[in-house]
């Protein structure tokens, strides 16, 4: 792998961890807004007021005794996802994609029974997956059925789209698709593929796996550069709208495209990672500075999304 000189990184405008924390997160994100994004339930409720759709909430399990209602509720559901409200990094998320009699089929194909899911709920309530182990609540939400053109690229799991939004402007985007190496999870450091997306068009630009550039999906053999996200402008606008909902100046917006419902917000992140730069082959700093220098910011999410599409489009 080798090393890269700080000067080269500066030339590329690579944002690093310390600067992200000091100059962007600490400066533009108010602490008081953190609970909004660190708690997926709160996120769901608050963005709904601003017209941003999320997967339909089926049940909230807050107390141990409510777990018994879960069995009744899940009785005739074909697919759903159980998540800890305060989880992060995919921890504690169980996705059920189908039924086989009394058994539930997980996304990975493993069959489990209702008792397993109830124990899982118990663990979530006890805070096993929340930061610092504080007690948590469990969310049961509708299964997202990935839009087929995108689903082709992913080994299991739903590909999601990460958009970094700075002061309400989308500044960079990438698509994350799971691979066998990442065990169906869309986590880059576990081997998922990150595909940088052109903000102007929603087309694939450049792809990396394990931080190295790749051209084809290792499992499906599809060319990653041909990816084209539909409803791109709408997605950028949804991302921009989350700024109004949370007030966070620097955040990551995770969207998925559902086959039936179109783009949905999956979660927000107040400390978005830096790997998006590697997927795009570009640093974030020049774009962030462009936004910082704006004399008169745009007021509506739509205007901001349009501005971003025009300003940050890839030059052909």
């Amino acid at each position: 792998m080798g090393w890269i000189s700080p000067r080269a990184l500066n030339r590329l405008g690579m944002l690093n961890m310390n600067r992200r924390n000091v100059d962007y997160i600490a400066r533009y994100n108010e602490r008081a807004s953190y609970p909004l994004v660190d708690n997926k339930l709160k996120t769901k409720l608050v963005v709904a007021e601003y017209g941003v759709k999320t997967p339909r909430l089926l049940q909230v399990v807050r107390e141990q005794h409510e777990i018994s209602h879960f069995r009744e509720m899940a009785e005739d559901l074909a697919g759903f996802a159980i998540k800890p409200a305060k989880g992060s990094g995919g921890k504690g998320i169980t996705v059920i994609t189908g039924r086989d009699g009394d058994e539930y089929i997980k996304g990975s194909g493993v069959r489990v029974n209702a008792g397993y899911l109830e124990r899982h709920l118990t663990n979530i309530l006890a805070g096993l997956y929340s930061l610092a182990g504080t007690p948590d609540v469990a969310i049961v939400e509708n299964l997202v059925q990935s839009e087929p053109t995108l689903a082709r690229y992913s080994h299991q799991g739903v590909p999601d789209i990460r958009i970094v939004v700075f002061r309400g402007y989308p500044v960079m985007a990438m698509l994350r698709v799971a691979t066998t190496a990442s065990d169906g999870k869309a986590n880059l450091h576990q081997g998922a593929i990150g595909v940088g997306l052109d903000l102007g068009s929603g087309r694939g630009l450049n792809a990396v796996q394990f931080n190295r550039p790749t051209l084809l999906h290792p499992d499906t053999g599809l060319a990653l550069e041909n990816i084209q996200i539909s409803d791109w402008e709408l997605m950028l606008e949804m991302a921009a709208r989350c700024y109004e909902a949370t007030g966070l100046g620097y955040m990551g917006v995770d969207l998925v495209v559902d086959a039936n419902e179109g783009p949905l917000l999956l979660e927000l992140n107040a400390r978005p990672g830096l790997a998006i730069q590697m997927a795009n082959g570009q640093g974030l700093l020049p774009r962030l500075k462009t936004i910082e220098k704006l004399k008169r910011p745009h007021f509506t999410p739509q205007e901001r999304a349009e501005f971003a599409m025009a300003t940050f489009a890839a030059r052909a």
Binding site: W3, I4, N16, R119, A126, Q190
Partner: protein
């Protein structure tokens, strides 16, 4: 990118660092706390030996002892004389060691020992009133001789100092001057000088000095002349007229009081022997601060047990510094932010290798047991609690095992922070399940590496010495940590992580 709003911050940090350093320097100069742990300082041990023959009855022996000799400070005094009552009495220019005993028979020997350290601190003026020259009456023909010599000297001088030098020069017994020959006929040159100077209106007195040379015995005091120049006492060599004290000269007695009085004895003599010793500078500083009570020396006032606890506590900031450095500048990932510091503190008590072995063993056994616990599907709190108890069992087991194998270090394993270890095990095992062994190894070795670095820094004797004796240096550490928090450059590990970006450059 510099933001104007950060300037006050930098000023504050610089002030903090400056305050820490200058306070430390001030305390070093004022209290003599050494920078280095093993520093040694010379100390003179002077022993005064008094011999006399008793008159077979009660005895009171009283020896003038120094109070604040110029150029030295006293760090200890003691008397060795069996059967005698002893005390030190008096102040302000006449401080005396007194021995008393009711029935004394035969020749007697008394000892008085004191330790002196060279010091360049100014001594405060002890006398409340300004000394005045006392009147002296001369008979003829001495009166005329004195007047003539003084007139001669006054003509060639302008200040009390130069006047004194002139008088000494004129009184030198080289036979050239008739007046001198007349006056010096009764022998005692120095008391004559004192009388003459007082007559000339300059307060003058005698003093006795001791030349300090290593391992000398049976030394006698040498007489010196002192005059008061209006603001302080100055010392002159009565033979050469040289002003000031030679190096290594200890003024034992100053002023008009007698050196030795023995009531109830004859033939009394005093002689001195001396020895050059070295003592640790730190010990000296503590002794001095105790004796003059103004030098507050921080933690030495506490009971020993508390002191050793503070010693450890005061090392913690160093560990925090290492963690901050490793995480913010190097970019090493650790499991739990400050877990490495606590582990490092435990290492300080167990020593490195046994500590490492014990720690890895405890965590490894704990991980195995936790694997079983997770199959029980317990609630989190009860699982952690169970883990804490298990960790205690493992530690106890290791201690007993270590003890029976003949390693004493088994016992000190109990210094490990049990709760922290239990959490570490819990986190590691979740990490294992979700991210795989690789991540566990990365974070585990990262934590251990940082812990070992922190340990190495904390275990340098100098760190312990500086943090404990100059607690104000923690302000410097605080300042540096604050500065590091402002570092927005690339971490070392990022230069590697981002290296694939080379293709886009």
């Amino acid at each position: 990118m510099t933001n104007p709003s950060r300037i006050p911050f930098y000023v504050a940090v610089l002030l903090l660092i400056g305050a820490g350093i200058s306070l430390a320097i001030w305390r070093h100069m004022e209290l003599g706390i050494p920078w280095l742990a093993g520093e040694q300082r010379p100390v003179w041990m002077v022993e005064a030996r008094i011999d006399f023959d008793s008159n077979n009855g009660p005895v009171l022996a009283s020896l003038n002892v120094p109070e604040q000799p110029p150029g030295f400070s006293i760090i200890s005094e003691q008397a060795a004389s069996p059967g005698y009552g002893f005390s030190i009495v008096g102040k302000n220019g006449n401080r005396r060691a007194e021995w008393t005993k009711r029935d004394v028979v035969g020749p007697q020997t008394l000892y008085f020992k004191a330790q002196f350290v060279p010091s360049d601190r100014d001594r405060p003026d002890l006398s409340a009133r300004k000394p005045r020259a006392h009147d002296v009456f001369w008979e003829e023909p001495q009166a005329t001789a004195v007047r003539e010599i003084l007139d001669q000297a006054r003509e060639r001088s302008s200040t009390p100092e130069s006047m004194t030098r002139e008088v000494i020069r004129l009184m030198r017994p080289d036979g050239a001057n008739q007046n001198t020959a007349l006056l010096a006929s009764d022998g005692d040159n120095i008391s004559l000088l004192v009388k003459m100077l007082n007559h000339a209106g300059i307060p003058a007195r005698t003093a006795d000095g001791l030349r300090l040379e290593d391992a000398r015995r049976r030394q006698q005091l040498m007489p010196f002349l002192q005059i008061y120049n209006g603001s302080r006492w100055l010392t002159f060599d009565p033979k050469t007229g040289e002003q000031g004290l030679p190096d290594n000269l200890l003024l034992w007695r100053e002023g008009s009081a007698s050196l030795l009085d023995v009531v109830g004895g004859d033939n009394s003599r005093v002689s001195f022997s001396m020895l050059r010793q070295t003592v640790p500078a730190l010990q000296l500083a503590t002794m001095q601060s105790k004796s003059n009570s103004l030098g507050y020396l921080g933690f030495y006032e506490l009971p020993i047990e508390e002191q050793s606890m503070f010693r450890l506590l005061l090392l913690l900031p160093l560990g925090a510094f290492v963690v901050a450095f490793m995480r913010m500048l190097i970019g090493i990932r650790t499991s739990g932010t400050f877990m490495p510091v606590l582990i490092a503190v435990a290492f300080v008590q167990t020593a490195l290798i046994p500590g490492l072995v014990a720690f890895v063993a405890i965590v490894a056994i704990g991980l195995l047991m936790r694997g079983y616990l997770s199959s029980l599907n317990l609630l989190l709190v009860s699982r952690i609690s169970a883990l804490i108890i298990l960790v205690i069992f493992i530690t106890a087991g290791l201690s007993v095992f270590g003890y029976q194998m003949g390693f004493n270090t088994g016992m000190t394993v109990t210094f490990f922070p049990m709760v922290i270890i239990a959490w570490t095990i819990e986190r590691m095992s979740i990490l294992w399940e979700e991210e795989g062994v690789r991540e566990v190894l990365i974070q585990g070795t990262g934590s251990l590496f940082v812990a070992v670095c922190a340990y190495l820094l904390m275990s340098i004797p100098l760190s312990g010495h500086l943090t404990f004796n100059f607690p104000e240096l923690h302000l410097v550490i605080l300042g540096l940590i604050l500065l590091m928090g402002q570092y927005t450059g690339y971490k070392l590990t990022e230069l590697r992580r981002f290296s694939p970006m080379k293709v886009y450059d």
